[in-house]
């Protein structure tokens, strides 16, 4: 009986030892695992489908020299795919198109709607002849029907990032291509980010280069004039009556005739941009953090837009269309007369920009945060600007739904080279009537909505729906331009 008891005690002790050994090994294995385990930068592939619809109305079309219909609509389907290549590397593909229709751009050839293109070869080329020259008319207030009325901009951008094992160093590189009717762009860049102070502080530097090229499209009368060997009895102008300010038909062989101020159109098709961006982020408290951004941007090449007309106050005015509408040319009552351009917009071939931005985010409680942003901007074209915005994410249902009421204020001084319609002097070296470079301020009011499902329960093939975003903003510019934009996005994660 005693032997049996001894054996039992030995067995129990062995069991204890074994238990202790297993426990020790488990702790050892766990401690080894936890010392080497590194969270993946991106756990699984993510796909974002984004889309926006933008529309604007305004009376300062730049293609027609600062007056005219600038109605524009734009749809932009886009997708962004982020793929984890391994625990440290992520490849992101961002591709999208932007399909727009623009009243301002349509008036690159304002005479299309009157049949100047003969109703067949409606391509904005200047080989067109009017079938009924006396019926040729156009107006900055009336949308034309030529090819330039709509366009599709397409872009693809690939970016790659590599994070160090300790996640304190991130190296990134990107390359992209974009194309549209009159413009192509090749872009590439790289960046480095360093985190320190237990990831409370972050500094970053990024360099970006865009090598862009114009395929210039010109106002039809300027292009036609060169094509007709500067002869108003040739090409498009043959048989078309040109009117003076009094509405009288001019003698095309006389001394007072319309001619462009410059017979040289675009000189340099290149338009390159080089930027260096610095950033610094800091966690200030458990609920507050901010970041600071500096960009230094140097642009060179043809920085003006060759589509945009300019009219000088010190040169005689000439028109095509209905003489009776000349007195009301700048009002919307004018539907059938068009003033021939003096020149295209001309701007310096370099521009240096310095924007400085700061973002400060404050977590109030589990339901509300405050996101604020301010930017000061200056450039060597004489423009200065302030931007301030605030957004209040408000969470409901334990963060499942979030509302984003937001407001943005923007103002800018005019560029040194801006003047309104018929206000420039031909003695100036540079001139534009593009109201995007005028003095104005703007207010933007918006509301966003987000649905988040952290478990991504709704499935589409192998992807789970992670979030859905919907956002509306209304933009009101002090020169009368008004715009609305609706954006929507869904995010899927791979199972």
């Amino acid at each position: 009986m005693e032997e049996k008891q001894e054996v039992a005690v030995v067995v129990i002790n062995m069991k204890n030892y074994l238990t202790l050994l297993v426990l020790f090994l488990t702790i050892l294995a766990y401690s080894q695992n936890s010392s080497t385990y590194t969270k993946r930068v991106l756990e699984t592939a993510e796909v974002d489908f984004l889309m926006s619809y933008y529309s604007q109305e305004g009376d300062h079309a730049s293609v027609t020299g600062g007056i005219g219909n600038e109605k524009l609509t734009d749809i932009t389907p886009t997708f962004i795919v982020a793929i984890p290549l391994n625990a440290n590397d992520v490849l992101t593909v961002d591709a999208g198109i932007s399909a727009y229709s623009s009243a301002s751009s349509s008036n690159l050839n304002p005479f299309d709607s009157s049949g100047a293109s003969n109703g067949e070869d409606d391509d904005d080329e200047d080989d067109d002849k009017a079938p009924n020259p006396n019926a040729v008319s156009g107006s900055p207030w009336v949308e034309s029907s030529g090819a330039s009325a709509q366009d599709v901009w397409g872009a693809i951008n690939l970016s790659y990032s590599h994070s160090s094992e300790d996640r304190n160093n991130i190296v990134s590189a990107n390359v992209g291509f974009a194309t549209e009717y009159d413009y192509t762009s090749i872009g590439f860049g790289g960046g480095y980010t360093r985190l320190f102070n237990e990831k409370n502080s972050e500094v970053g530097i990024k360099a970006q280069v865009y090598l862009d090229t114009w395929s210039p499209k010109y106002p039809t009368e300027l292009d036609s004039y060169q094509e007709a060997n500067q002869n108003l009895n040739n090409g498009f102008f043959e048989d078309v009556d040109i009117l003076n300010q009094e509405g009288e038909i001019i003698d095309k062989n006389g001394p007072n005739v319309w001619s462009p101020f410059n017979n040289t159109l675009i000189k340099d098709k290149a338009r390159n941009s080089y930027s260096v961006s610095f950033s610094f982020s800091q966690i200030l408290t458990k609920t507050t953090q901010f970041s600071l951004f500096f960009d230094f941007v140097q642009q060179s090449g043809w920085l003006a837009n060759p589509m945009q007309r300019v009219y000088f106050s010190d040169r005689d005015n000439y028109y095509i269309g209905n003489a009776e509408s000349i007195p009301v040319y700048t009002s919307k009552d004018n539907t059938d007369v068009f003033q021939l351009a003096d020149d295209i917009e001309r701007l310096p071939d370099t521009r240096f920009k310095i924007p400085v931005g700061v973002r400060l985010n404050q977590y109030i409680n589990e339901n509300i945060a405050i996101r604020t942003y301010y930017r000061y901007y200056t450039d060597d074209w004489g423009m200065k600007s302030h931007t301030a915005s605030i957004e209040l994410p408000i969470k409901f249902s334990l963060g499942k739904f979030t509302l984003y009421p937001n407001y943005r204020f923007y103002n800018q001084t005019a560029s040194d080279y801006f003047a309104p319609f018929e206000s420039h002097l031909s003695s100036s070296d540079y001139y534009t009537s593009d109201y995007d470079l005028s003095k104005f301020n703007s207010h933007q009011y918006g509301l966003g909505f987000k649905y988040t499902d952290i478990f991504a329960k709704v499935k589409v093939f192998k992807f789970g729906l992670k979030s859905f975003d919907l956002r509306y903003s209304y933009y009101d510019r002090s020169d009368g331009l008004q715009a609305s934009i609706v954006s929507a996005g869904v995010k899927f994660v791979m199972d």
């Binding site: 458990k286 920009k353 924007p355 977590y363 930017r375 600007s385 470079l437 966003g448 956002r471 510019r477």
Partner: protein, 70 residues
Amino acid sequence: MIKKIIICLVLVATFSSCLTVKEYEKVNINDPDMKLSALKIKKFETNFQVYREGASGANGGKTGGGCGCN
């Protein structure tokens, strides 16, 4: 401008010596709405602003280039 940049750098150095928030204390800072970058859904708004305004940059969006914009 150089002076302003130097002042900013001094401020940056000052902030970086603030108290350190430990990883386990960052639950609020790590909230997705606390991200120090623009929200992805705002990319279209930033895009139209680059076209309709003379200023750009310092917001993670375009600084000029890549489009016939300002």
